[in-house]
């Protein structure tokens, strides 16, 4: 990344202590060009995924493929934006909600609901109502977790990341334990809802999710300028007249909803957010959320659709994409940690 950090922690473009108007204009042009390239790539991936290798009934094949594309787009936007927002409010680049165990938390909430109310309640209740309840619980618990971990200032970054990772393990193990305590019939119902994959997404839930994501996206975009200021750090933000706590709280609510939607649709994909958020920051080289957010979303769509395309058409495998993302993301995370430690 072509940014150095001054002692006060304010990001400044390297070599340009006082950026001139022309430098700004050039940077904007570069950002716009990058966004256009990403959009073209995303479109190409979507088109290739939709139209390559159709045999037999076009209508039938396209309906299935477009549903998959819609799912990947919704999940991509949710994961990309939740990661960018989370990195902004926590002020570091190696943390994402998934690494902090947020998606495991959502799985745990789902499991506990089945454990408490039984599969019958799950099957008879309105899925949208149920989902709203799960999301509400998620917002509450994730905000609590965040406040508990980040509330004390001056806590070490690595301690926090490690704690987040272990929280993920704890939530995962608790969900596993609860799943073992549920009676086997209920467990089958739960398993259906937990091990959702790209290939079997409920159309009703998808529409509802898209609606939720749309609302959250609109809210995020309204916040984008304040987020730019929050990215400077708490003290600077307050100094500049932004209600830091209020913005952080709103961002956390948005993150919780986005993570819930993504996890409910396709299950946890631990490292996707880390990959796309950092890639976006690296490619557009800006801290402005108006550019960063669309770039991250486009990269997520390219990764998911392109990856799925290669897996399905070249290697004829269906559901291993998350495993590959976790492999690549894990290696990238280690590299990031090593580079960070050399600063």
């Amino acid at each position: 990344m072509s940014a150095t950090t001054t002692t006060s922690g304010t990001p400044v473009a390297a070599g340009t202590a006082v950026p001139t108007a022309t430098a700004f204009a050039a940077a904007r042009r570069r950002e716009r060009r990058m966004l256009a390239v990403l959009a073209l790539l995303a479109l190409a991936a979507v088109a290739a995924f939709a139209f390559i290798g159709i045999k037999g009934n076009w209508e039938f094949a396209l309906a299935i493929r477009f549903r998959k594309i819609a799912t990947m787009a919704v999940v991509g936007v949710a994961i990309a934006w939740s990661s960018v927002l989370f990195q902004t409010v926590t002020g570091n680049r190696i943390l994402t909600p998934s690494i902090m165990g947020f998606d495991q938390l959502f799985v745990l909430i789902q499991t506990v609901i089945v454990f408490l109310f039984g599969a019958l309640a799950l099957a008879t209740a309105d899925p949208r109502l149920l989902f709203s309840g799960q999301v509400a619980a998620m917002v509450g618990f994730s905000t609590l977790l965040h406040r508990w971990l980040f509330g004390r200032r001056g806590r070490d970054l690595y301690v926090m990341v490690l704690a987040g990772v272990i929280f993920g393990t704890l939530f995962g193990s608790l969900a596993n334990l609860a799943a073992r305590l549920i009676n086997p019939n209920d467990f089958v119902v739960l398993q259906d809802s937990l091990f959702a994959s790209l290939n079997q997404v409920d159309a009703g839930l998808l529409g509802f999710s898209a609606l939720l994501i749309g609302a959250m996206a609109a809210w995020t975009l309204r916040l984008r300028h304040r987020l730019d200021v929050v990215a400077l750090g708490r003290d600077h933000a307050i100094n500049l007249g932004v209600d830091h706590a209020a913005v952080v709280n709103r961002a956390l609510v948005i993150v919780a909803v986005l993570v819930s939607v993504a996890t409910a649709l396709v299950g946890p994909i631990t490292f996707l957010g880390l990959l796309v958020a950092n890639l976006a920051r690296q490619l557009v080289g800006t801290f402005r959320h108006g550019v960063l957010l669309p770039a991250a979303a486009l990269i997520a769509v390219i990764t998911l659709v392109g990856g799925q395309l290669i897996l399905e058409r070249v290697f004829t495998m269906d559901t291993a994409l998350t495993v590959i993302v976790n492999f690549v993301g894990g290696v990238y995370f280690i590299a990031l940690l090593i580079r960070e430690s050399r600063r």
């Binding site: 301690v159 990341v161 704890l170 492999f327 280690i334 940690l337």
Partner: protein, 331 residues
């Protein structure tokens, strides 16, 4: 400094009390299970009870004790030779590498004897651990927390690779059996490999002093006349062998190797002469407790020990991390 003064003040009666408690719990564990084994039945010499005891309960108890002891000692050794409290087989990719080894063995040497499988698991565990040590050397700034973080991620990457291979060859279900440690399938004739881990643990005790010195740092150790690199490599080999043997026989047992040595050395200090026997006892006790809990929580069904340990272990680790945090023996 109070901790330092109390360190090493291990009295004989402490150990004796520990042994007695462990014996009581062990005896009680023999009576827990779906089939009825009662003291009265055993005394009366009822054939069924005796059969159940000899074929299932006793082997299971021994397996639990051996695995608990060996894993926690392996953790203690790795903690010392890396000079980092939070490095253990489960945070250095050793466990995951051993699992990858079992998968490789199943793919290429499915028909071979268990000992071949184990050899491959040991080889992979060693390779993985040494790769991790190489990564460690690349970290110029060796942060106490950063090291296990990198280790956990390294383990995750190896785990992802393992899952991918298993998926490709339709072995996901089999993989599930190795990744979740479980003593419920232990019968006479199916756990004896664990004695090997027990033997290696004893070997670790012979090296205890040298590990202690190695834990004080490279230059210090060399100054004291210890062949540092050799001791470190020996420790890594011992820990890898133990981990691989446990993974091959009962599956991955998470967190024991991390939690137990930490709690013990917090109470006793870093002299392995004292810490090692206590760690061994405490590890056996801890795993046995979790195993019995797993048998009782949803009686007559069983919850695998790895699930119980995942919950208890991660909770304890979080407390250690967030409460003790940086103050705990930063090197």
């Amino acid at each position: 400094m109070t901790r330092r003064r109390s360190a090493g003040r291990l009295r004989a009666w402490h150990l004796a009390a520990g042994v007695v408690t462990l014996t009581v719990l062990a005896a009680a564990s023999l009576l827990v299970g779906v089939g009825d084994v009662t003291p009265a039945g055993l005394l009366a010499g009822r054939a069924e009870d005796l059969h159940l005891l000899v074929e299932s309960r006793l082997p299971r108890l021994l397996a639990v004790l051996l695995a608990g002891t060996a894993m926690s000692v392996a953790g203690l050794i790795m903690m010392h030779i890396t000079g980092n409290r939070f490095v253990s087989p489960s945070t250095a990719g050793t466990t995951e590498s051993a699992t990858l080894g079992v998968l490789v063995a199943t793919l290429f040497a499915g028909g071979e004897a268990v000992i071949v499988k184990m050899a491959l698991a040991v080889a992979c565990a060693l390779l993985g651990t040494f790769v991790f040590m190489t990564i460690l050397r690349r970290l110029t700034f060796r942060d106490m927390i950063l090291v296990p973080l990198v280790g956990i991620m390294f383990g995750g990457v190896i785990g992802a690779a393992t899952t991918f291979v298993a998926y490709r060859y339709d072995l996901l279900q089999t993989l599930g059996a190795w990744t979740s440690g479980d003593f419920s399938a232990v019968l006479r004739g199916r756990y004896e490999l664990l004695w090997l881990a027990g033997g290696v643990t004893l070997l670790g005790y012979l090296y205890a002093d040298r590990f202690t010195v190695a834990g004080m740092g490279r230059s210090f150790a060399i100054n004291l006349g210890v062949r540092y690199d050799r001791v470190v490599n020996t420790g890594l080999v011992l820990a890898s062998v133990i981990t691989a043997v446990v993974v091959v026989t009962v599956g991955e047992i998470p967190f024991v190797s991390l939690i137990v040595p930490n709690l013990v050395t917090l109470a006793l200090g870093d002299n392995l002469r004292y810490a090692l026997p206590v760690t061994a006892l405490a590890g056996a006790f801890f795993v046995l407790l979790c195993d019995v809990a797993g048998r009782l929580i949803r009686f007559p069904y069983e919850i695998p020990v790895s699930t119980v340990l995942g919950v208890v272990g991660s909770a304890i680790f979080l407390v250690l991390l967030l409460r003790g945090g940086r103050r705990m023996g930063v090197r």
